[in-house]
Amino acid sequence: MMSKLELKEDKIMEVQFVGDDDVLNHILDREGGAKLKKERAQLLVNTKKIIKKPEYDLEEDDQEVLKDQNYVEVLGRDIQESLKNGSAADGGNKVYSFQNRKHSEKMAKLASELANTPRKNVSFSLKNDPEIMINIPQCSKGHSASDKVQLKNSDKSENLSTAPSGLRKRLIVPRSHSDSESEYSASNSEDDDGVAQEHEEDTEEVILSQKSPSQNRAMSAPVCKETPSKKMKRDKTSDLVEEYFEAHSSSKVLTSDRTLQKLKRAKLDQQTLRNLLGKVSPSFSAELKQLNQQYEQLFHKWMLQLRLGFNIVLYGLGSKRDLLERFRTSVLQDSIHVVINGFFPGISVKSILNSVTEEVLDHMGTFRSALDQLDWIVNRFKEDSSLELFLLIHNLDSQMLRGDKSQQIIGQLSSLRNIYLIASIDHLNAPLMWDHAKQSLYNWLWYETTTYSPYTEETSYENSLLVKQSGSLPLSSLIHVLRSLTPNARGIFRLLIKYQLDNQDNPSYIGFSFQDFYQQCREAFLVNSDLTLRAQLTEFRDHKLLRTKKGTDGVEYLLIPVDSGTLSEFLEKEEEES
């Protein structure tokens, strides 16, 4: 380390050992960025002065928050007035302002804190942690890379003296990273690091309990800054880098023996999940009931407003399905209405329009396009003012309906005088679906209905996260399909699986090129012409067991779109059977 320091110091040297006064004199006439430089100089001379920095930073942040507050005040002066609406409770500033940067505060730590003091309130005291950032003068471009390393090292040495317990990461990570900034090498070397893992985990645990977040922060990677105005952006990017490595280093410890697949109970299919959850006694049922009753009192008001040309959108945490269902059964019984489950994976605007034309309007014709169909519906409803239709859409913001075209069409439907729309949204960014034009079509009235009810129905269709956790579905279907194939076809597929598993650690693996695959199949006496192979592949493709992609070189690449864990399990089972 020392040698490196010396090697790269020739430029920085001058800065490092210039006294405070000189630096001050030198830069007194400059503002902003100069200030930072000064601090860096101090920092190099006297590590203790680092403590001064956070105040400056915090001040900046405070100002930011203040600005936010002004804006919020301008927008709505009645924040305190609102008693019912959660939106007002915290104001805008907390959600939208950039908060203190997150580092490796571990969930485990938090969890143990939470757990160890049951029934008591545990404060994470995140906000109290002084945010410490090290400001380093912007280095000239040519030197930046080398400087980074150098600065990192100097950081390290400083912290060695001040915070011996805060070395968790810098001591361990650099060993495997070995100063390399490349993403790939970092993760690769991590994988090779299996032996050290046990040990590392231990140290980490020990240090985890000792380290204080502020110390950890003080060590944050070299952050190059020019002026305070650029601070935000720079923080973000450097944070990204930091967090990228953090994420990788934490998974390094975990992925090898702590994947969900190895945990027996991780495999839950929908049914078991439901059974298990059935045993959970719901908490706060009295309060929830009260909440729901509050909302139910609004039913008549909703009806009134719907009839007067507004459309209603419900938002807030918790499934609003039951609420809407009660709305439906209590006030909509005597009118024509269509319930649309937006969370249903097969839903589309087409099917909504179809159910309107076919079932509501009893029209049996077909339409050229959705727009035609829409026009037809619009005309029908305009002609016949006695027609009235209520649309209830659960999850208007679902994956299938959030597209621009779908929203446009639904918006146009809802803008009709005699079509009344009441919908619910859940996604954090749902309001982004609507631009001004769409909003004026929808003519929304917003109602907050926070119910805290579980999204049972909405999440019951195997979404990607659950598939990964249950995993049983692709595996069983894989076995099922392959059993119906000829031994040769099974051999072909097994060949592909093996090749893919061999390459699973290669991040640039894009598939098995067709020519090579054909060659190997021929050698294994599985096919005799590339036509037979193609016929086989088509069959796989039909069962969604195979994907082909054209590479940049025009060669066809074959890939099995199933995760490697399932594949290796499949191979194990195959071998057991044979």
């Binding site: 709505g76 002066r77 009645d78 609102s82 959660g86 409770a89 915290d90 959600v95 940067r101 490796s104 969930m107 938090l110 969890a111 939470l114 757990a115 309130n121 545990v122 404060s123 994470f124 995140l126 994420a247 934490s250 998974s251 975990l254 992925t255 697949q261 109970r265 839950l268 999940l273 909440l291 609004l298 008549h300 008001k301 009134l304 407003q305 007067l308 938002y315 807030g316 945490l317 005597d334 009118s335 024509i336 269509v338 649309i340 489950n341 969370f343 839903i347 159910s355 954090l428 309001p431 001004h436 004026s440 917003w446 907050e448 805290y452 049972t456 999440t459 269709y461 979404n463 659950l466």
Partner: protein
Amino acid sequence: MATSSVSKGCFVFKPNFKKRKISVPVGDYFNKGKNESEDGKLRFETYQLIWQQMKSETEQLQEELNKNLFNSLIEFLQKSCSGFQKNSRDWGCQIKLREIPTAALILDIKHFLQKLASQLMGCCVDEDSKEGSIQVAQKRTHCSMDSLSSWYMNVTQKTDPKMPRKKRTSSSQWQSPPVVLILKDMESFTTKVLQDFIIISSQHLHEFPLILIFGIATSPIIIHRLLPHAVSSLLCIELFQSLSCKEHLTTVLDKLLLTTQFPFKLSEKVLQILTNIFLYHDFSIQNFIKGLQLSLLEHFYSQPLSVLCCNLPEAKRRINFLSDNQCENIRRLPSFRRYVEKQSSEKQIALLTDERSLKAETQSLLENLHVYHSNYFLVLRCLHQFTSSLPKYPLGRQIRELYCTCLEKNIWDSEEYVSAFQLLRMLAKDELMAILQKCFQVFKSSSEKQLGSTAKRIEEFLAQFQSLDEAKEEEDISGSQPKGLQKTDLYHLQKSLLEMKELRRTSKKQTRFEVLREKVVNFIESLVREYLLPPDTQPLHEVVYFSAAHTLREHLNAAPRIALHTALNNPYYYLKNEALKSEEGCIPNVAPDICIAYKLHLECSRLINLVDWSEAFATVVTAAEKMDASSVTSEERNEIIHARFIRAVSELELLGFIKPTKQKTDHVARLTWGGC
């Protein structure tokens, strides 16, 4: 549940034919659901009446505002049509610009355009739409412009037989009607397509007369930014600009709120919110009117006494039929109670016990309120005449700003008011006279008796100023006698100047103009103090003022993200259970699962290891469970906890906080930034 299925997403429910009523009258919903539905029906009817009036007023307003624009547009179209007739070879294509920074307004305009087109061109509209579809077909089949023009020839020939009718409608001689192509939102077109289209169609113009109308939301410069000179030179552009939306808002406010025509009024906060949404969010008049409608509805829905919010004679009549409950409601009004407290004790007793005297008093109070309003708006307009021309606009440039300040508090207590009046005391004569003239018009236009004298006063002032002119001329002649030029040195000059200054200060001699100006300003100030009292000083103001600003904000300008955040971060806010009570930034371990999972995930950076997360979750939940000594075995309990974790995670995914990632096995990616 009847609406869940694994194979279907839409469920249609049609009630039996017998059961199906034609439709439940809307008013019924007005009464249901509310316990105190006093005079509900009447209230709803009043609501509908007022809303219809307001709506037609705004529509009329819009029509008027756009009239000029459309007239010139029509003229322009006709002119260019005749240009085609004359077979001029040059490209008479033209472009319409309008400067409307509002999406909604564009929509409005578009509707108007369609209306206009249909009025103007009869059959041309069909062609327009057909042309649209042809255009699509063209893109699909790569057919050339030739086919388009031959199609056009066909159509014009086909429509020839119908010529007489067409002539009747449009009165001008459309031998070959031009095709008008309206590009509603020019900015959203791909420049390449637009350029190519213009170039191609310019070459076919002689056989395919085309008029382009561009709708532009930003500024005219955009045309030149989107189209290179070579292309834009092919266009003969004429610019049409519509009224800016702010002016539009001013007129709408003027017609709907600053008038006694509609009894319904908005309180300061409501007005503030509506204008803020307008100015900071969307610039949409349509939304503003929607907000107005909602406030009207809310007012009539929530305030039982709003039944009296109608024109004065009708309100007086209605007072006689008020029920006991309604009388009680009146007595409960804060403003009425304040009023009663000021009365003599006998009268207090009478008001609080005797219904007849209460009703009589209410009638007179309502009348007072009416008079108050009519005076209020006159004086407000007058004051606005004075303040709107001041430098730096201490009281705002628009009358709505002035109105807001006046609604909020005694305006004369504000600093801005003081500085405004200081400035007023320095006005020059011609300015002052111009303003007074305007004020005179304002007062003259009203038929109110009380303020009729004011108009007279102003007239007198004006006359005095006039006479001042004449007097001054005389004075000038007399005062301009040269004293004879004396030579003097610097010292004496300074001395004499100082003396003059001293003299002026001590004697404070004012010219007659200054005296008069002072009088005028004082007069205005007395008017303001007398008539511009904030409405909440008036008894019974609750009847006509809608003040529930937060409901309006909640429903119009909701913040779903913040609601989500609050629900996840601070469940006590909704659930009101003591066990959930916590300090800022913490969460008790008995909180709902999703809150715990959310809180834990905030501790992570961009990627979250599911195993870690699930263990942390289990730690917290187990600790909470131990308290309620459960009888289940530990293995089963673990399973249940894991199931709960899975549920919480998939719910967070649904809410958009995390998403599965392939970057690492069993990891999810966070989609939000920072923790709170």
